[in-house]
Each structure stands twice: as structure tokens, then as C-alpha cells.
């Protein structure tokens, strides 16, 4: 069995990639994808820990709540993407681009 630290480092790497992506990229699609990346890195962690707990207490339902949480997160993420993409399409229809720098119009 792969030790838990492997999962941890992978998740950390994915999360950092996503975070930095949101910070430095200007393209909304890329930013949404980065957000997904962060969410899924967390999912990965949840599943990994869930498996670990289950392996320690075989025959019980230990760790099942972690996996349930993952399902919830995936549903919420899907909804979020649906809303985010539709906003983006509307935005594109107005602006003919998907640059996040143009999203601060309300300020002025």
C-alpha cells in the first residue's frame, strides 16, 4: 500500500498549482479550471485519509464520511462550474474576450 505521504505531496502540489494559476492567469476558463484543480486536490486528500482510516479499522464503516464528503464536493463543483461557465458565456457575448481584467467594470 502506498504511504499516505505520497498522496499528501501530490495533493499539495496540485493545490499550489491551482492557487498560483488563479493568482497569475487572466483567462477566466483557465482560472475556473484552476479552481477545479484545487477542489479536486482536496478531494484526493479526503479519499486518501478515508482509505487510511478504513484500513486501520477493517470490517467497520470508518472513513465512509470522508468519501461522502467527496461526493458532495463534486456535486457542488459541478453546479459551480455550470454557473461560472454561463456567466462567462454572457461575459464573452458582451466583451468578445474572457479576460478577467475586464471584470472590474462595476468598480467605476
Amino acid at each position: 500500500m502506498i504511504p499516505i505521504s505520497y498522496y499528501l505531496f501530490l495533493a499539495l502540489t496540485l493545490f499550489t498549482l491551482g492557487m498560483v494559476g488563479v493568482m497569475i492567469r487572466r483567462n477566466i476558463i483557465i482560472m475556473l479550471m484552476c479552481v477545479e484543480l484545487m477542489l479536486n486536490s482536496v478531494n484526493l486528500l479526503l479519499v486518501a485519509f478515508s482509505k487510511m482510516h478504513h484500513a486501520k479499522n477493517p470490517g467497520t464503516d470508518a472513513g465512509i464520511d470522508g468519501q461522502m464528503m467527496v461526493l458532495f464536493i463534486m456535486v457542488v463543483a459541478a453546479a459551480e462550474v455550470a454557473v461560472g461557465l454561463s456567466i462567462m458565456i454572457l461575459f464573452y457575448r458582451k466583451q468578445y474576450n474572457v479576460d478577467v481584467r475586464n471584470l472590474n467594470r462595476l468598480k467605476h
Binding site: M19, V22, M23, I24, R25, R26, M31, V100, R101, L103, N104, L106, K107
Partner: protein
């Protein structure tokens, strides 16, 4: 009695609501009919109460409960009425004279735009006064007390478009409020001492003598302060002459049937308390007699017909208070009764004169109205004779009884009272001869007699003024003929010493007074038939200017108060509060203008800051950095 007792209170209140709400819709006839009819209803029911009420020495008051105003562990105050001889007598005066004034007003106010408003106020006034006298505890009396003040404010300022009238109304209200503070504090004190506000319980506790002299003195003095406000005594009397700003029937109502008699009623109601407070009664007597003297001297130099009557009222009230101070409660109530008749008559008669002269109130422009207004003339003559104290008209009996009590109590007060009575005759007949004697001075005026609706109340009141005295014939004339004394015996703890005087002395006193009164009447006839006062000098100028009391109050109280108010306005309001409030706004605007530059709209920046925040948070949490 319990079937209709509440109706007496409710009928005028119903009238107030009907006329108040329907003042634009109802015709004038309907308004006058409803208002007068409902008060007449109350009057008829009051007569029934009067016939049934237990009177005499051992009479117990009847108490009718409706609901609790307060129902607490420490304070139970029911909304209930207490009917005894005193209450029923006042109910008769209020509703009876009130009814006549309502009828009269229908004629007097016929041309006025605010007809409905006027009658709704009048009805409210009757209701308030009934509440005041019928309540069975101090709180109910206080309700009536306050409502009466409100009604007087509304009615004095009835013609609210004139600045002076509104000022007079405000003055009446503020002066009354000063007195009301006394009532309120007295009520708290009574509650503290007895734990109840019911008259019967309080007076039962008083008679056990558990009260300290300090508490008795304090409570009675506070109650007397309240009485000076409502009944216009020194130092709070200046509002009553100014109350002439209201329509004349209002003056009649305030001066005769309601309002000013409240103080007398309250002290008589609490006579068991006042009996214990000899110092307070001393003060009451002196304040009363000084008020009587000061205002009587003012009255002899006034040229406004209503002002003369107003000061006359204050003066008569002063006499009543002096009598109260002597412990002669019945005499004071007797004078309230007779005074209600002849003073209402005088005011309504004066109103009739003013109406006939098309709004002229200045007596120097009148004269010779004898032929032109015969009914008014005859009734006014009766009223003047009654108030001057000519037997057998009513004023003679009541005034004689009051003066007798002063003679027995304090000779100095008696002498002042004697002088006041003589002055009364003088100023009343000065008014009479200036108005009705000689020739009309204002030649162009088209004088006319008032309509029937106004003269009939005058005639009724004239008959009452002439005959009301016979309910209190002094023992010197006939044994046991003092009906009022017997009637009120259960309410008032009258001392029996009233007759500890020889008949010779009593007749001597009466004769002396009567002689002096007749002399000054003849003097007034000589001085004022067809003539007016020359320009006054010296002491007369002081009298004409009302002893400069208003000016003194202005300089001592009003001006400093206004000055302090202006100071606060300038330095605290504008300099402090306004600046502080505006400063808060300016400050938040300033800080927000600085803070909003953080919001760049750059999402990357936001995320970076958020990450820094999260990292810093986690760092503090796990590593204890910072």
C-alpha cells in the same frame, strides 16, 4: 344607580367622538343638538344620582368598579367611580351649568367655522371634569385633572390663528403643568405612605393617625400646589385672566362650572388629610386671601369686560381658599355652587353684550345698553347683586358663611376678606354702570339684543343665582335650615364651632358688610354712570397694570429660561451636537475614501491577499508565530 352611573361619564365622551369625527359632515343644528342633548342626558342622570345618593352624617360612599388600571402586587388601582354627596353636588353643577353653556354656545358660535370642533371640545371638557369629580382614587382624579388642562388649552387657543391666543393657551397649559407636578408627587407620596390610592382606604388610614407630621405637611402642600395651578391662586394665577382669549362660553365654562373649581373640590375631598395639617391650612388661608385682595384690586381698574370678570373669579376663588384654610369646607363648596351660577351668568351676559356690540370688549366704548338689551341687562343686574352679596340673592349666604369662618379663625384674614367683598361690589357695579348706565359712547355701534337661544340660559341662570342661596340659610335666621351642611355632613368633617358666636355679633358683621357694599355700589353709580376712568396714576396705575406680575414673571423666569435655552442652542446644539454628528459622518467618509483604494478589482490580487491571510492564520495557529 349602577345601571346608568357609567352613562353619565360616557354620554359627553360619545358626544366628543361624534362631533369630533363628524365636524365636517354634520350640520350645525345636528352638532349643537347632539352636544347639548348628551350633556342634558348626563344632567338628568345626575339628578337621579343626586336624589338617590346617601347623604347625612353616617352616609357611606357608593363605589362602582369597572376594571383595574393597575393590578400589581404593590399597587392596585381600579377604574371606579365613587358617588357621595360631594360628588353628586359637583356633578349637578358641571352638567347643569355645562348644559346651559352648551345651549348658549349654539347661539354665540353660530357664525364660527369651527362649530363642530368647538362642541366636541366642550363635550370633552364636561367628560374630563366629570371624571375628575367622580373618580374613586387619586389616579382617576389625576386623569381628569390632566384632561381638564388639555381641554382648557384646546379651548383657550380655539382661535388658533391669532398668535396672542395661542400664547395664552400655552401659558395656561404650562402654568397648569407646574401645579400638576405637585399632584403627581403628592400621589407618589400617598402611595408610599399608604400603598393605595383609593380615597376610602387612604382616609381610613389617615384617621388612625399613623402619619408623621412631615408626611402630612408634605402631601398637603403638594396637593395645594396642584390646587394653585388649577384654581389660579398666587403664584400661578396669571393664566386665568389670559384665558379670556377663548370664546366667551369657554370662559364661562372654565370659570364657573369646571376647571377652577377642581382645586376646591380636591381639597374638600381630602379634607380629612388637610384637617391634620394645620400649617398647610394656614398657608392656604393666607395665599387665598392675598390672591383675593391682589386680584380684586386689579379688577377695579380693568376696562376689558371679560378681564374684570376673570380677576373677579380669581378673587372669589381666593376667598374660597381662605375659607378652606379655616376649615370651612362646606362654606367653600357652597360658594362654589352659588359662584358657578352667578359667574356663569356674568360671563354669558358679558358674552351677550360682546355679541350685541359685534365683538367689542372694551367697556369704555359701551354704556347705555339698558334699553337696547333688556334681558341681558336684568339678568346681569341680578348676577351683580348676587356676587356683591345683597340678600336674599345667593352670593350673600355663601359669602357670609365664608366670612364668618374667617372671623372665627383669624381676624386679620377676616378684615382682608371684608375689604375684598367690598371691592367685589365696587368692581362689579363699576362694570354694570359702565356697560349699562349712561349713554352709548361708541355712537356708530348697532347694538342688538341676543337671540333667544342665548337669553334663555341667562334667565335660567338668573333664577338660580337668585335662589340658590336658600339651601344654606345660616343658623342665625332659622334653625336647621342649612340644607347643604346636612347634605355634606358625611363627606366633610365640619367642626361644630361655626356657631360659637353670639347672634348680635353675627348680625353686626352682616350689617357692616351690607352697609359698606351698598355704599360702594352708590359710589360706583356716581363714578361710572356715563363716565370712565381718567388716566390712572400712582397706585391705580399699579392696579391697572396688574401689579406688574406678568412683567415680573417675564423678567425672573421666562427671560432667563429663554436665555439659557438660547445659550444651549448656540453652544451645545450648534457648537456641540451638530458638530459631533456631522463629524462622525465626515470621519467615516474620510476613512472609507482611504480604505476603498484596497479594492482594486484585480482578482489575482485578492486571491494573493487571501492566501497570505490563510497562511498567516495557519502559521499563528500551528507555530505560534507573532
Amino acid at each position: 344607580m349602577e345601571k346608568y352611573i357609567w352613562l353619565i361619564l360616557l354620554l359627553p365622551l360619545v358626544g366628543f367622538f361624534i362631533n369630533g369625527l363628524g365636524r365636517e359632515k354634520l350640520s350645525k343644528q345636528a352638532i349643537a343638538f347632539i352636544a347639548s342633548g348628551l350633556v342634558l342626558g348626563s344632567f338628568i342622570l345626575s339628578i337621579l344620582v343626586f336624589l338617590e345618593v346617601p347623604s347625612g352624617k353616617d352616609a357611606q360612599p357608593l363605589i362602582f368598579d369597572a376594571f383595574y388600571i393597575f393590578n400589581l402586587e404593590t399597587l392596585k388601582v381600579p377604574f371606579s367611580v365613587q358617588i357621595d354627596a360631594l360628588t353628586s353636588l359637583f356633578m349637578l353643577i358641571i352638567t347643569g351649568v355645562g348644559f346651559l353653556i352648551h345651549v348658549y354656545s349654539a347661539g354665540y358660535m353660530a357664525e364660527d367655522k369651527g362649530f363642530g370642533r368647538f362642541f366636541s371640545y366642550l363635550n370633552l371638557f364636561i367628560f374630563s371634569m366629570l371624571l375628575l369629580v367622580m373618580g374613586s382614587n387619586f389616579l382617576m382624579m389625576f386623569f381628569g385633572w390632566e384632561l381638564v388642562g388639555l381641554c382648557s388649552y384646546l379651548l383657550i387657543g380655539f382661535w388658533y390663528k391669532k398668535r396672542d391666543y395661542v400664547d395664552a393657551a400655552k401659558k395656561a397649559f404650562v402654568m397648569n403643568r407646574i401645579g400638576d407636578i405637585g399632584f403627581l408627587l403628592a400621589m407618589f407620596w400617598i402611595w408610599k405612605e399608604f400603598g393605595t390610592l383609593q380615597y376610602t382606604e387612604v382616609f381610613a388610614a389617615v384617621s388612625t393617625g399613623q402619619l408623621t407630621a412631615f408626611a402630612v405637611g408634605g402631601i398637603t402642600l403638594l396637593l395645594f400646589l396642584a390646587a394653585t395651578g388649577k384654581s389660579a391662586q398666587i403664584p400661578l394665577f396669571t393664566w386665568l385672566p389670559d384665558a379670556m382669549a377663548g370664546p366667551t362660553p369657554v370662559s364661562a365654562l372654565i370659570h364657573a362650572a369646571t376647571m377652577v373649581t377642581a382645586g376646591i373640590f380636591m381639597i374638600t375631598r381630602c379634607n380629612e388629610l388637610f384637617e391634620l395639617a394645620s400649617y398647610t391650612r394656614e398657608i392656604i388661608a393666607w395665599v387665598g386671601i392675598l390672591t383675593a385682595l391682589v386680584t380684586a384690586t386689579i379688577a377695579i381698574r380693568q376696562n376689558d369686560i371679560k378681564k374684570v370678570l376673570a380677576y373677579s373669579t380669581v378673587s372669589q376663588l381666593g376667598l374660597m381658599f381662605a375659607a378652606l384654610g379655616m376649615g370651612a369646607y362646606v362654606a367653600a363648596v357652597f360658594h362654589v355652587l352659588t359662584h358657578a351660577f352667578f359667574k356663569a351668568l356674568l360671563f354669558l351676559g358679558a358674552g351677550s353684550v360682546i355679541h350685541g356690540m359685534d365683538g367689542e370688549q372694551d367697556m369704555t366704548k359701551m354704556g347705555g345698553l339698558k334699553e337696547k338689551m333688556p334681558t341681558t341687562h336684568i339678568t346681569m343686574l341680578i348676577a351683580c347683586l348676587a356676587i356683591a352679596g345683597i340678600p336674599p340673592l345667593s352670593g350673600f349666604f355663601s359669602k357670609d358663611e365664608m366670612l364668618l369662618s374667617m372671623f372665627l379663625g383669624n381676624k386679620v384674614i377676616y378684615i382682608i376678606g371684608f375689604i375684598v367683598s367690598v371691592l367685589t361690589a365696587f368692581y362689579m357695579f363699576r362694570l354694570y354702570f359702565m356697560t349699562f348706565g349712561g349713554e352709548l359712547r361708541e355712537k356708530e355701534a348697532k347694538v342688538h339684543e341676543s337671540p333667544k337661544v342665548m337669553t334663555v340660559p341667562l334667565i335660567v341662570l338668573a333664577i338660580l343665582s337668585a335662589t340658590a342661596g336658600f339651601i344654606g340659610i345660616p343658623a342665625a335666621f332659622a334653625k336647621n335650615a342649612h340644607k347643604l351642611n346636612d347634605f355634606l355632613a358625611g363627606v366633610v368633617s365640619e367642626s361644630g364651632e361655626a356657631h360659637a358666636i353670639s347672634l348680635t355679633t353675627e348680625f353686626l358683621l352682616m350689617g357692616a358688610l351690607l352697609g359698606s357694599v351698598i355704599v360702594v355700589i352708590l359710589l360706583a353709580k356716581k363714578m361710572y354712570t356715563g363716565k370712565v376712568d381718567a388716566t390712572s396714576t400712582g397706585l391705580m396705575k399699579v392696579f391697572e397694570n396688574k401689579w406688574y406680575v406678568d412683567e415680573i414673571y417675564n423678567a425672573l423666569i421666562v427671560k432667563p429660561t429663554v436665555g439659557i435655552g438660547n445659550g444651549f442652542k448656540k453652544y451645545v446644539e450648534k457648537g456641540g451636537i451638530v458638530k459631533a454628528v456631522a463629524g462622525v459622518g465626515t470621519m467615516s467618509y474620510y476613512f472609507s475614501s482611504k480604505a476603498k483604494s484596497v479594492q482594486t478589482g484585480n482578482i489575482g490580487m485578492y486571491v494573493l491577499l487571501m492566501v497570505i491571510g490563510v497562511v498567516a492564520g495557519l502559521g499563528i495557529f500551528f507555530l505560534g508565530i507573532l
